[in-house]
């Protein structure tokens, strides 16, 4: 019963979602669909503290055991709890000017910096791909080079054909490649979803207890 009832709950919830998506018309069907969507979001929202608990456990363990770089764990915990206290008890609203300033002056620039750092890793990855020196790696790099040149004025200065070629690659072979992968992934997703709903796939339930 420790496994069968949860599987039944998942099956019922999944079936209600599918039925209310495909069979529309009566007002109550639409209402059930909207409410189930809200239930899903609400249940997910109340799970958000799992991340906080795990982060606190991991960093708390590092601090108490005085592991390597444990003082940075204090920084992580102070920042996390500090911003939670500030947001929930001091700012109290997403339109609070202090909260908006915190987002625009700290979170957004740090996000941009972290993602921009990836440009160096990408350059290193491109160098490694270039060193492979086979026909497929060359195709990948030529395609990437045309795409990059086609997006900057330098490409058009070299030849007006380059931006057109970049557009063609983006709209034809890129669409073909990505669509083929997407259709394959959709088959995989549908098969997995069916296995989950009927209870064949139970990996998400964790241990054998």
């Amino acid at each position: 019963m420790k496994k069968e009832l949860p599987i039944a709950l998942g099956l019922v919830a999944g079936l209600i979602w599918i039925i209310t998506t495909y069979f529309t018309g009566p007002r109550w069907v639409e209402t059930v669909h909207q409410e189930l969507s809200k239930w899903y979001q609400l249940a997910g929202a109340y799970m958000v503290m799992v991340g906080v608990v795990n982060l606190t456990r991991v960093h708390g363990h590092r601090i108490t055991q005085k592991k390597k770089d444990w003082m940075y764990s204090i920084v992580a915990l102070v920042c996390m709890f500090g911003i939670m206290i500030f947001g929930i008890f001091i700012a109290k609203d997403s339109n609070n000017p202090g909260w908006k300033t915190f987002y625009s002056q700290i979170i957004a620039p740090m996000n941009a910096t972290v993602y921009s750092t990836l440009v160096f890793y990408i350059a290193s990855a491109a160098y490694r791909a270039f060193r492979i020196r086979n026909s497929q790696a060359t195709i990948l790099l030529v395609s990437a080079l045309i795409m990059m040149l086609g997006r900057v004025p330098l490409g058009a200065m070299i030849s007006p054909v380059i931006p057109q070629l970049a557009d063609w690659i983006l709209n034809v072979p890129n669409v073909a490649g990505m669509r083929g992968i997407q259709i394959g992934a959709a088959f995989g997703g549908i098969a997995t979803a069916l296995r989950v709903l009927v209870g064949i796939e139970r990996g998400y339930m964790g241990g054998t207890e």
Partner: protein
């Protein structure tokens, strides 16, 4: 140089995060841990503003008591931290995974499969337009050959191997295109940070 303290904090964090390019160091570790902590806290507060606080209003002010059920389902996840009661969290996971599976079967089935297949049914000869004809042939052959590449129940020899090779080439072009676009997006972000450092902070450029 700027006199705004926010700009100085941003500049310090930006330089600290960029310093990993040269060597792993204390400033980077500080900024990295601060980023992780701040973002985790930020996510919790956004969820609080968007769902958790409004949910109490829906229940007590609007008298929609049925919202207590998803809240209980959500809270069941925390039983995994109680020894002997961890199995109760399966109700939470089963609900989330069940609705997720329903979503895949209902919505993704249409958008990721049916719509994509339908969009691939193109005429292979378009009268009066050689370019459209070529584009359609490349598209159809590309999609079929990429799907063929992922068919592992057939030995890829002879014609089957040739089709598979075409699929690999099409995928390489697609990956190159995705790679190029990603590089351009990251370079754009990097230039934005350089503009901030040289403009807003040091005032060396306008």
């Amino acid at each position: 140089m700027s006199t705004n303290p926010w700009v100085w904090i941003q500049a310090f964090l930006t330089l600290a995060l960029f310093s990993i390019i040269f060597v792993d160091n204390g400033f980077y570790k500080f900024a990295e841990h601060a980023y992780v902590g701040l973002y985790a806290g930020y996510t919790v507060v956004v969820t609080w503003f968007s769902y958790i606080r409004p949910s109490s209003q829906w229940i007590f002010r609007d008298h929609k008591y049925h919202y207590i059920i998803p809240i209980i389902i959500g809270l069941l996840i925390y039983t995994r931290y109680i020894k002997g009661w961890a199995w109760v969290s399966r109700y939470n996971m089963a609900f989330m995974v069940g609705v997720g599976a329903g979503f895949v079967l209902a919505r993704d089935f249409k958008s990721l499969l049916l719509d994509q297949v339908r969009a691939t049914f193109k005429p292979l000869f378009v009268s009066g337009s050689l370019l459209t004809t070529i584009n359609n042939i490349v598209l159809v052959v590309g999609v079929v050959s990429v799907m063929w590449y992922f068919l592992f129940t057939v030995e890829k020899k002879g014609t089957a191997g040739t089709i598979s090779s075409i699929g690999r080439v099409v995928m390489m072009v697609a990956f190159g295109s995705a790679f190029g676009n990603t590089v351009m997006a990251r370079v754009s972000l990097f230039l934005g940070r350089l503009q901030f450092l040289l403009g807003d902070w040091l005032k060396l450029i306008q």
